[in-house]
Assembly symmetry: C2
DNA sequence: TTTGCAAAAATGTGATCACAAAATGAGATT
DNA sequence: AATCTCATTTTGTGATCACATTTTTGCAAA
């Protein structure tokens, strides 16, 4: 029996067992803690989370709704496998969704919020220098999320996070094989564009950031990574 | 006690109770059977579906993951309310997602598939003439879905359907107050563009279809509808 | 060593129950 | 008539169990 390693996660007071299980598993998948093809069991996770099947099953069901997991025909629960074509599809979706979200956030961002975003960008570099890949990844997600969620009535963030979740497993593999995370410096560009309230430039910077970051892996590189992981 | 009316739905052999509950409720919300703000109960639905709380609760949890329902702080389960701003957000997301999906589907569509799409378009008009709004709506969704899912490795369809689900409740209200469903004839335009393999023209036609169809309701019209429904 | 098959274990599913929290309603008070 | 209080009911939560299916294991035959 292999013990499933889950990232640490403080359980806030009053959080239901189900919500805790969901948040914990979601976070684990998002930062690449599970490899593609990994299979999980309800009872196994219930034990790892010190609870019972019912809330865990609900959490797993929710995770399948957002593409983070898959219930197979034979009732097995697995982390979806990634193909180069699927990867390309995910990246192009990220670009479409996030340029859209970024463009529509511009008008809602205050000067103060933009400074906060710049601070988050600085923290990304700090984490990279400290060699903490997962922390850098989380900070990078916070950078994007903080921009997009400036728009108060927005629906798009859950959809974007669904795509992030689906990219999580390959991201985990990439982190194992890339000695250092390099972040293309499109963030500064995006921040400058935010200050100028230039919606097109913001959208372009975000698109370029994705394309040159994780999106920079071409199909061959992804195929290579998947071969290494197999 | 009010009996919840759910659209008919044959239960395929071998389908689990949970899957059935999920499909049934999802379909009901998608075609506007629930009004915004409606609250549902686990036990109530379990009784209506002749099953027990466990599978129903799982289905409800999944539906919240895709924005079709909401678990409130006080543990009440409701159909999300719509504001004019949220409505506008949903429409702009539909345009972004569906133009993207349509563009990327073009290369995968065979002549035969395009003819099938044209046939679906004809059936929409039939249903409108027969006065069956729900059937027309379902056929319209099939028209869009058939185009987008021509791309085999696509991830976008579940995201699009999440947006459709969130538009469902207001769509139901609109159907109550609009005597006849008018469908803008952008479908022919899209089909012609598909035949020419003109990706830009397809994307434009789909965007226009959404903008002039349900997207044609401006914020005032939506506010008016919501007032009527309240 | 490999293959085939039956027993055993593991696993998802769904119903049920006890519990706590929230909502509801009746009756008293102002 | 309106408001507050408290008992009752409703409702979500989570643990448990029985059942059916699938997977794994163990052992014998080729």
């Amino acid at each position: 029996m292999k013990t499933t390693t889950l990232p640490l996660f403080d359980r806030p007071e009053g959080m239901t067992t189900h919500d805790y299980a969901f948040a914990r598993l979601r976070q684990a998948i998002m930062v690449g803690s599970f490899r593609p093809g990994t299979s999980v069991t309800i009872r196994g996770l219930a034990e790892a989370l010190e609870s019972s099947p019912t809330p865990v099953r609900e959490a797993l069901r929710q995770l399948t709704s957002i593409g983070a997991l898959q219930f197979l025909e034979n009732r097995r629960i697995v982390v979806p496998r990634i193909t180069p074509a699927r990867f390309e599809e995910l990246i192009s979706l990220r670009i479409a969704l996030e340029s859209h979200a970024a463009r529509r956030a511009v008008a809602h961002l205050s000067e103060r919020q933009i400074e906060r975003i710049a601070a988050i960008d600085d923290s990304i570099e700090d984490e990279i220098n400290r060699g903490d890949q997962v922390a850098a990844l989380i900070a990078n997600q916070a950078f994007h999320r903080t921009i997009y969620t400036a728009n108060p009535d927005q629906i798009v963030m859950p959809l974007i996070e669904s795509v992030w979740l689906q990219l999580g497993p390959i991201l985990g593999i990439a982190m194992e094989h890339v000695s250092e995370l390099y972040v293309v410096d499109r963030h500064r560009e995006a921040i400058e564009a935010l200050r100028r309230r230039d919606e097109d430039a913001v959208a372009d910077a975000i698109a370029a950031d994705i394309r040159e970051g994780i999106g920079g892996f071409d199909q061959q590189a992804v195929a290579h990574l998947l071969k290494l992981a197999a």
